[in-house]
């Protein structure tokens, strides 16, 4: 009985995090972008600086009609948002937030492989949406999504493999246990490659060619309305939380900090994740969209070689310090 309660509590906490953190990131994006552009952003909903703007948006989305185009493949069209969103919920289960076994939803032996594999599945949702919409723009968006995933999955995996080599384990809590502060300069190239490739996998600007609104009108999501569209948006922000959390755990030492790692480790994790999420928003405001050929070139001629160099460096250092 105790075990059942424990599992239920963990699932509940992960689910609450899954529902709230993306909204917090979304609201932060509203405000940060506005101030960077000399605006105020939402100011009315909820009273204090428009804190309830996203809640209001959610209510509005729920009220809208859920339209399925006449020519669409109905079942695949309706299933796609769930396929896009659920993998991020599963990934959140495996991210440790503090030291010890109590601070992770579920300890998974091959954690690095689990998170990368499940994150890759989420992209299938965008592909299904792009194909099933019976819309040329959606199909183009789906094609670009697939091309982007194939290009950026490899550097992401290689960068993560470098950390796994350094730690001698592929379990996420195990990697954190092995972490030392000097891993930060040692793995910095891998960290940048991982973060950039993750941004591309999430299709965040400047890698938002698949959803480029000014040319293919939001790509795979063109035909979606109401709650299903909101689910795709939620998937994007959940993806930001997951990517920032993963980068924190793999490269920035997670719950390790200059002080207070025992009791307040989870604060460090959340702090680092929040800073990374801010960087994600910052990049969106700063950089113009990359063209499709620039996207592919960046991955194959820059990120993959950098990731391979990082692996070589990791191997050399690992042998030298042994």
């Amino acid at each position: 009985m105790n075990d059942v309660a424990d599992v239920a509590l963990r699932l509940l906490i992960v689910f609450v995090v899954f529902l709230t953190f993306p909204l917090i990131v979304g609201q932060t994006e509203h405000k940060v972008m506005a101030h960077m552009q000399g605006r105020l952003g939402p100011m009315y909903a909820g009273g204090f600086h428009g804190w309830a703007q996203l809640v209001a948006d959610g209510v509005k989305f729920a009220q809208k009609e859920d339209v399925v185009p006449a020519g669409a493949d109905r079942r695949v069209f309706q299933l796609a948002p769930a396929v896009a969103l659920l993998p991020y919920l599963l990934v959140l289960l495996a991210i440790p937030i503090g030291p010890g076994e109590g601070a992770v939803g579920q300890v998974i032996d091959a954690g690095v492989f689990f998170v990368l594999a499940v994150m890759g599945v989420g992209v299938l949702g965008a592909l299904m949406a792009g194909w099933a919409s019976a819309n040329k723009f959606s199909l183009l968006g789906g094609l670009r999504t697939a091309a982007q995933l194939l290009a950026y999955e490899l550097p992401m995996l290689l960068a993560a493999a470098s950390v796994a080599m350094a730690a001698g384990t592929v379990s996420l809590p195990g990697i954190l246990d092995a972490f030392h502060w000097w891993w930060l300069p040692w793995q910095i190239v891998g960290a940048v490659v991982f973060f950039v490739a993750g941004l591309a996998e999430l299709q965040r600007p400047p890698f938002d060619m698949p959803v480029a609104d000014s040319e293919i009108i939001f790509g795979a999501y063109t035909e979606y309305t109401g709650l299903r569209f909101a689910l795709f948006l939620l998937a994007e922000y959940a993806g930001i939380v997951v990517l920032c959390g993963l980068t924190t755990v793999l490269f920035l030492g997670g719950w390790h900090g200059p002080w207070g790692a025992d009791g307040l480790g989870w604060v460090w994790t959340l702090l680092k994740t929040a800073v990374l999420a801010f960087v994600v928003i910052w990049l969106r405001v700063t950089y113009p969209r990359l063209r499709e050929d620039q996207l592919q070139k960046l991955s194959w001629t820059l990120l993959v070689p950098l990731a391979l160099a990082q692996i070589a460096l990791t191997g050399v250092v690992k042998v030298v310090i042994r």
């Binding site: 100011m43 689990f114 592909l127 194939l150 995996l157 050929d293």
Partner: protein, 243 residues
């Protein structure tokens, strides 16, 4: 061996064994639909279910590492590549009457023969082998890695060479096709495009994208200073902002 066989029987299955059987049946069903459906993209999506079911079977056999690699490689990459190829060439919504192959009976015979041979060999080889679920996990990353790099290094390296050969072959084929196309001034995509998706994909998908709609730019440059400016979320939330 005999002891193990005596303590385990087929007549009183455990919960894990029942789950294994049920998942196996679902996987088999999904595989059947994959090869019989008349809708091309549906076949690819049912393939996702089949491969995912296989991953669950690996999990139930405690081979956790293999299961996640199965998801990563097959569901995350191979099926995405397949869908990419389908969308790039021919992916109609609805039935494709020409999707049936005339030699499907020969294919069926080969499939049945291969399945019978595999089932017979595997069942005969591992008839008395049982996985101890209560002891240390037998398929962790550490165990898999040690067995792979201590006992099976030679097959592993041979496979690497095979993959390298496939890689070189794909490059040679695509370059040759390109040279042919240049010679005959044919602009069609080389047949080897599917083996090398990103490069040709980039050029093909980009072509329609370059015919830009008259981008008003309105969504990207919100009116400064105005709280009701469309777009707290910039271009993304054009739909929200329009209200």
């Amino acid at each position: 061996m005999n002891l193990a066989a005596q303590t385990h029987g087929f007549l009183s299955p455990t919960g894990v064994e029942i789950a294994f059987l049920l998942v196996g049946l679902a996987t088999f069903g999904a595989a059947l639909v994959t090869v019989t459906t008349k809708q091309l993209v549906h076949a690819a999506l049912w393939l996702v279910v089949t491969l995912g079911g296989l991953a669950v079977e690996y999990l139930l056999l405690t081979a956790e590492f293999i299961a996640w690699v199965q998801v990563l490689i097959y569901v995350g990459s191979v099926v995405v590549l397949l869908l990419f190829g389908l969308m790039l060439t021919k992916a109609p919504i609805g039935r494709s009457p020409d999707a049936d192959s005339p030699n499907r009976w020969a294919a069926l015979a080969v499939a049945v023969a291969a399945a019978a041979a595999l089932v017979w060999v595997v069942a005969d080889a591992f008839r008395t082998t049982w996985i101890d679920l209560d002891g240390a996990a037998a398929g962790t990353t550490r165990v898999t890695g040690e067995s792979l790099f201590q006992n099976w290094v030679l097959p592993f390296e041979a496979l690497s060479v095979l993959l390298l050969a496939a890689l070189v072959g794909a490059i040679v084929l695509s370059r040759k096709a390109k040279a042919d196309a240049d010679a005959t001034t044919d602009t069609a995509t080389p047949p080897a495009a599917a083996t090398r998706p990103p490069a040709p994909g980039a050029t093909r998908t980009q072509a329609p994208g370059t015919t830009r709609p008259p981008a008003p730019g309105g969504a990207q440059t919100p009116a400064p200073g105005s709280p009701q400016a469309p777009a707290p979320g910039g271009d993304r939330s054009a739909e929200e902002g329009a209200r």
